[in-house]
């Protein structure tokens, strides 16, 4: 934090502005408007904002009138820069005719048109001149801190980025170079703490719920199965029971997916890796696709002998889900294509299908849980909205990735990448 300064910049700016414009002619004011864009600011505000477009500096002159000075473009301005130190605001008398008055703020340079400022502070007003000098000194004193703080903020940003990439259980150290920001870091860490807690609660809740549902679901399914075999074959009762059994399976399947997702969120989606014959699995799935959708043209280009070290059950589940979607969201008499090959980046499986395309709004959300596209709802396509999210988690748990590729209109392409064994 900068030390307390006897000079309050907003007071100085207001004073300087008042003095500058006390004797200003109509011609000068016109010049101000010509050379500076006007923006509303609170009275007395100086906005030093390197984040603003084109690195503008706003200097309030009077009331709600502010001048915006643009960053240097002219080469002669750049040549002058080495002679000006950070925070300095000065008139360079020997500058070329087109040159500027330059202020350096926090290592960024803001030029002010020389003619303009010279007219504003033409020797007739020593008060304004002195005020500008004071402002310049204040800037010099304070921008050093700003520059230093900016470096710290950059480091802090890098740390925070690291933290958010590694997970909510990370904390920012309150010692070391960032100690000046101890309070900010403390607040941020507390926020992480709360986030982590509620996230864990949410994950645990769906995990626990799925876990608790398991016993009643097992009993329900078992009793239904028992009843199904006890009633006469083909009876109306048996048809009813078979229908209920289907729904119980559906319920189990959703509960199971929630449990897996909860495990993935908690980083506990543990895998039982074994050598899996990916080629055989994909050929089986292609055979399924031909059975499920005889109207579709199913093409494959599956390299022979592809093997991965993976949890076979989960991997097949993910692939089944991708291919299931490719069938569900296809066009009547459309096509489906499964490609798989070993590449330098690992083993790549590509599932493409004819489609109406995916709306931009859906593309971003397609892996979100329970997200179902408007198109899916309106076409009455069944699904829980959990499959793609789970497929991606399965891919990631294997050290791979699942992405929706950019593709030409009329097709949808998902790419699954898995590390080579």
């Amino acid at each position: 934090m900068p030390p307390a300064s006897p000079f309050q910049p907003r007071d100085l700016a207001a004073l300087a502005a008042t003095e500058l414009f006390r004797d200003a002619s109509a011609e000068t004011l016109a010049l101000v408007r010509e050379h500076a864009s006007v923006r509303d600011l609170a009275a007395g505000e100086i906005l030093l904002s390197p984040a603003l477009p084109n690195q503008h500096i706003y200097l309030l002159l009077a009331g709600a009138l502010a001048l915006r000075f643009d960053s240097p473009q002219a080469p002669e301005v750049r040549e002058l820069l080495p002679g000006v130190s950070v925070g300095e605001m000065s008139i360079i008398d020997d500058a070329p005719p087109s040159a500027y008055v330059i202020a350096k703020v926090a290592s960024r340079v803001f030029p002010i048109h020389r003619d303009l400022l010279q007219r504003l502070i033409a020797g007739s007003n020593p008060v304004a001149r002195n005020l500008l000098r004071l402002m310049s000194q204040w800037l010099k004193a304070n921008t050093r801190h700003i520059a230093a703080d900016q470096n710290q903020i950059r480091r802090l940003t890098a740390t925070i980025r690291e933290v958010s990439a590694q997970g909510l259980d990370q904390r920012i150290p309150t010692t070391g170079e960032e100690r000046d920001f101890a309070e900010l870091i403390g607040v941020f860490n507390e926020m992480l703490e709360r986030l982590e807690r509620s996230f864990k609660q949410a994950a645990r809740f769906s995990g626990d719920a799925a876990h608790e549902l398991r016993t009643p679901l097992t009993i329900l399914q078992g009793r239904l199965e028992q009843a199904l075999h006890a009633v006469p074959s083909g009876s109306a009762m048996q048809v009813q029971l078979a229908g209920i059994l289907d729904e119980v399976r559906r319920l189990s399947s959703i509960s199971q997916k929630l449990l897996l997702l909860a495990q993935a969120d908690g980083g506990r989606l543990s895998l039982r890796r074994e050598r899996c014959d990916l080629t055989a699995a994909l050929r089986d799935l292609a055979e399924d696709a031909r059975m499920l959708a005889p109207a579709l043209r199913v093409d494959t280009a599956i390299a022979p002998g592809l093997a991965v070290a993976a949890d076979g059950g989960l991997l097949r589940q993910a692939l089944h889900n991708l291919i299931g979607n490719a069938i569900k969201y296809n066009l009547a008499d459309g096509w489906l294509r499964i490609d798989a090959a070993a590449t330098d980046a690992g083993i790549k499986v590509r599932v493409a299908n004819a489609s109406l395309g995916i709306a931009a709004a859906d593309r971003a959300l397609i892996f979100e849980r329970f997200h179902r596209t408007e198109a899916a709802r309106s076409r009455g396509i069944a699904g829980s909205g959990l499959g793609l999210g789970l497929a991606r988690e399965i891919a990631r748990a294997h050290g791979g990735e699942l992405t929706l590729d950019d593709s030409a209109g009329g097709e949808t392409v998902f790419s699954l990448t898995l590390p080579s064994p």
Binding site: R214, T215, L217, I219, V239, L245, D246, K257, L259, M291
Partner: protein
């Protein structure tokens, strides 16, 4: 076949015992790990069905104790699906198979048969009902002496139905056994697969396929008229 079921949830144990007995198994049941271990160690069972979460010694501890004592009775673990750590540990400790809850008793029966067959040196490799003959090792199928070429899924489906002629299997039971992963239960893949099998096999002298549809329920392998 003599089976020991160790499962603490009474309502689960009830239907498992009933289901296994209905299919000709003799079943002993106990509801805690300590008694489970005693019985397993003392009795001569063909197979042990073991829940993992048990009062007293848990399932994995029972399994470990049995194997350490040199007891090699085949064990099927009942576990929550994808309680993977348990599964991995169970398999490492010498479980022969595992079945995820919720499960079909029908699937448990199929697993027990497969397991016992494997352990006992694959004695019953050939399944023959009516005019259909199926070799589990060579995976060859013949209908009335003629070779039939079935895909992997088709073979597994026929084998599943053939194990219990006359018994009806629902689409979801068949899905679970043949495909294994989560299919939307409204899928028609079972029906399509059955149609393909029927087409490949053809009909008998009476013009009937060995695989019958039970409308609204599922499918069954035709029982020989003499057995009816």
């Amino acid at each position: 076949m003599k089976t020991l079921l160790v499962e603490d949830e009474k309502r689960i144990a009830d239907f498992v015992c009933a289901g296994l007995r209905e299919q000709g198994f003799s079943v002993d049941h106990c509801d805690n790990g300590n008694e489970g271990y005693e019985r397993a160690a003392a009795g001569s069972y063909d197979v042990i069905v073991l829940d993992i979460m048990l009062p007293g010694r848990d399932g994995l501890s029972v399994l470990k104790g049995l194997r350490r004592a040199g007891n090699a009775t085949p064990v099927i673990l009942l576990t929550a699906r994808n309680e993977l750590d348990d599964r991995i540990e169970g398999l490492n400790l010498g479980a022969d198979d595992y079945l995820a809850k919720p499960f079909f008793v029908e699937e448990l029966v199929a697993r027990i048969h497969a397991l016992v067959r494997r352990i006992s040196g694959e004695r019953q490799n050939v399944l023959a009902v009516g005019g259909l003959r199926l070799d589990r090792i060579t995976r060859e199928v013949a209908w009335q002496g003629q070779t039939v070429d079935l895909t992997g899924r088709e073979f597994n489906l026929v084998e599943y139905l053939m194990r219990a002629p006359g018994r009806v299997f629902t689409r979801t039971q068949i899905l679970e056994h043949v495909w294994g992963y989560d299919f939307d239960p409204s899928t028609n893949i079972v029906d399509v697969c059955i149609q393909r099998i029927r087409k490949k096999i053809g009909v008998d002298r009476d013009g009937e396929s060995p695989i019958e549809a039970v409308r609204g329920v599922g499918y069954r392998f035709r029982k020989l008229k003499a057995d009816a």
